[in-house]
Amino acid sequence: MAYTEEELKKELETQEYEYGFVTEIDADTFSKGLSEKVVRAISKRKEEPNWMTEWRLTAYRAWKKMKEPDWANVKYAKPDFQEISYYSAPKSKDKYESLDEVDPELLKTFEKLGISVNEQKKLAGVAVDIVVDSVSVATTFRDTLSKKGIIFCSISDAIREYPELVKKYIGSVIPRKDNFYSALNSAVFSDGSFCYIPKGVRCPMELSTYFRINEAGTGQFERTLVIADKGSYVSYLEGCTAPSRDENQLHAAVVELIALDDAEIKYSTVQNWYPGNKNGKGGVYNFVTKRGICHENSKISWTQVETGSAVTWKYPSCILKGDNSIGEFYSIAVTNNYQQADTGTKMIHIGKNTKSTIISKGISAGKSQNSYRGLVQINSNAKNSRNFSQCDSLLMGNKCGAHTFPYIEAKNNSSIIEHEASTSKIGEDQIFYCNQRGIDTEKAIALIVNGFSKEVLNKLPMEFAVEAQKLLEISLEGSVG
């Protein structure tokens, strides 16, 4: 049977969220609302030192004065911040020594996600720090890592055990007052991951965390801090799936990366929060602030595959502060039904001979809106800087939209900036060409979409590429072979 673009469109529209389920775990949830009392209570619950409590309170006070931004090209009902519960943790608070002690319900959840801890343990050296509703419940391979001096733990553990590191770097890349959501996150972040790679160490395995939103009506405020000391290397993976919910859920994470001299950080994300049903009901609001700072000769590479969330607002950025530093951004954003994505990057060139590459691929289907918004800023001291940006959009059907908002600011005459963008649909002649060579239409579409996003998929680490392909399959089923 011939598979046409029309059918693909139909399939995309009716595609339901596959990972939509709720795990019944007793959760320890705060009552709704936000006040100084709540911030203090969160801090107390996390057994945090005084300076951290104060740090949160400063953020909270700043947040209270801020207004929700509305410049992004997305439309949604503004969340009521007093209707959100700011803390939710699985009830049993003991740390698990072995998997037997873990709530079997929770293990089942992981199995449904295809990331059972058992399997992960055996699999090619991926240490998983699983976060369910904000509190880290399982950490594997921590021992192996600690032999190398690598610290990989939850941020609340880090605040207790390595306060000097956290104190030095938290908020150094994304100040608390940076924006509305980073301020909110700084005030109420419940948990997240912390990673420190010592000088000259090459992290032997891919570090990864899986995030999930589970409890109904809970906001998720993750905080991730990755520090790569001089000459070190780390590849960090982050992936997420969320259960099906009708109520809009808010996710406002903050990720800070610090690459000291000669270090390299590779940060990959696969995001598949619940996108809402095909009528645009429900879905996650994903308002994330991600930023990294590059010192001399260092490199930060962001790779993201965005397939989920009802509304995405995300700009992983690089501040190229040190000379000869490199920033990279590779992104695939797929939107379907009523999803809206406003995503892109910022490359701030400060140091000399800094280089940045931006490759962004947007695929919109159904009634979705997909925007690329990026900034390339070359300061006058950033001599001989180089930027290359490419943002391509693929449209499926005439009810969706693709938008590009690139900001390019150059202040010196030795830098070279190139930007190009194109928008198109899957060409009839492309399909015809494939058909002629005996490739049926379904395969042809798969081939074209695959080829369209290949440049980005190639950048994902092996372990993650499989998962990414899986998610692309869910979002564009029938088109990816």
Binding site: W71, I378, S380, S393, L395, M396, G397, N398, K399, C400, G401, A402, H403, T404, F405, P406, Y407, I408, E409, A410, K411, N412, N413, S414, S415, I416, I417, E418, H419, E420, A421, S422, T423, S424, K425
Partner: protein, 438 residues
């Protein structure tokens, strides 16, 4: 803000001079209310993010020049195109100058706005077209509408191919310490007609001049319009040029903007494609230095299928100058088979200049070809070396490369005499003369 207040009070004085019971005056009163509400744009607005009017509107402008100055033709001869027969519509300090002008009513109308607004025989067209294509939310356009009184009025009936180009020139003589000018042009080109228009704003003094110009152009079925904007004013003048172009089926409108001078030049160029099968072309060449700022904001709204738009803007910047480019292409759901291309290339000659570029696409249709490209760089060192190795001095070699860079825009100028004039201006700007034709 002082200037805002002055403008609002001037409006009352302005009303004494004109027929306040007309249709147009209702538009004026609405517009001044709108301006009062919005005020001058500031940098908090996305469209004015990179361009600040603060320095400009600080000055104490005279909103209307009280006196009419007379200037001799031989003094301003250089500002007209040499060796060419043309219609001329000339304004001095905002007033029409009949001695320098050469208008026509021979089956067509090449005349002035004040006549069009007051005479009954024009009212049909004024009611149909005047202020019909401008958005209500733009404060500077509203300001212009409120004070709309003088400017060029051009109306070509069906099947008229104009042999001679039309020159529209606005002179300011410095009879006021600081003068604000608000010319308003209305250009209606009917079916199968063709026209070439050259518009220049020229200050003859070092007194400040702030021009807030609005042009409405209606290109009806199968018409052709070539519009050249020459912006090579003195450093004390600033220009905000708002152009709204409404096109009908099979029409072809091409706007060329040459920005070489002025303290601040802001071009808001808007194309509305209201029927299928339309061609719109925008070309721009900017060469500036000495703290100048040139800001190009273009908008092409593709609201119908099978249309095309081409944009090509080149810029060369040095000496603390700032270039801004914001090109917006909107493709509506029904505008299938749209081809929209946008290109913005910039050269920075030194470290003190800045370029802010934002090529923007908003696309809602799937069967389209839209692309934009933007580059910022410098003259190719290898090419420079190649030329110098062949005995061409550095300055000339640089000029040659610059010419080459700009040539894409230059070559589409259809009037040979104008082309020569622009080339000479570029040569002067670069301080070299290439003894050959490109």
């Amino acid at each position: 803000m002082q200037l805002t207040e002055k403008i609002l009070s001037s409006f009352l004085a302005f009303e004494l001079d004109i027929d306040i019971n007309s249709y147009v005056h209702n538009l004026r009163t609405d517009a001044i209310k709108n301006f009062e509400k919005l005020g001058f744009p500031n940098r908090k607005l996305e469209n004015w993010k990179y361009t600040s009017l603060n320095q400009i509107i600080k000055e104490d402008y005279t909103v209307f020049s009280k006196k009419k100055n007379v200037i001799e033709f031989k003094k301003v001869k250089d500002y007209f195109i040499d060796n060419i027969e043309s219609y001329k519509i000339v304004f001095v300090d905002g007033y029409y100058d009949p001695f320098l002008s050469q208008t026509s009513h021979d089956g067509l109308d090449i005349c002035i706005m004040s006549a069009a607004l007051s005479k009954a025989k024009y009212s049909k067209h004024i009611n149909k077209y005047f202020n019909k294509s401008v958005p209500s939310e733009d404060s500077l356009t509203s300001l212009n509408t409120a004070f709309s009184k003088e400017g060029a009025y051009i109306h070509l009936p069906k099947n008229t191919i104009l042999e001679k180009p039309i020159e529209i020139i606005h002179f300011s003589t410095g009879n006021e310490a600081a003068l604000m000018l608000q010319p308003r042009n209305l250009i209606i080109i009917e079916e199968n007609s063709e026209v070439e228009i050259i518009e220049t704003h020229q200050s003859l003094t070092i007194n400040s001049v702030f021009t807030n110009s609005v042009s409405e152009i209606f290109a009806l079925k199968n018409s052709k319009v070539d519009y050249y904007k020459i912006q090579n004013d003195v450093i004390s003048s600033s220009l905000v040029d708002n152009t709204y172009i409404t096109q009908k089926r099979d029409s072809d409108v091409r706007v060329h903007t040459f920005s070489f001078g002025g303290k601040l030049t802001r071009n808001n160029l808007n194309f509305f494609q209201t029927t299928p099968s339309i061609n719109s072309t925008m070309k721009g060449l900017t060469i500036i230095d000495y703290n100048q700022l040139v800001d190009h904001h273009t908008l092409v709204h593709h609201s119908n299928p099978n249309c095309e738009s081409h944009q090509d803007y080149k810029g060369i910047y040095s000496g603390k100058s700032t270039g801004v480019f914001n090109g917006k292409i909107i493709v509506d759901k029904i505008a299938q088979k749209t081809n929209a291309f946008q290109q913005n290339n910039n050269i920075l000659l030194d470290d003190t200049s800045t370029i802010n570029s934002k090529p923007q696409l908003e696309i809602f249709a799937d069967d389209v070809k839209c692309s934009h490209g933007c580059t910022i760089g410098q003259l190719d060192q290898d090419a420079l070396f190649y030329l110098r190795a062949r005995g061409i001095p550095k300055k000339e070699a640089k000029a040659l490369l610059t010419y080459g860079f700009a040539n894409n825009v230059l070559e589409s100028v259809k009037i040979p005499e104008l082309k020569i004039k622009i080339k000479n201006t570029i040569a002067k700007k670069l301080g070299v003369s290439l003894g050959f034709d490109l």
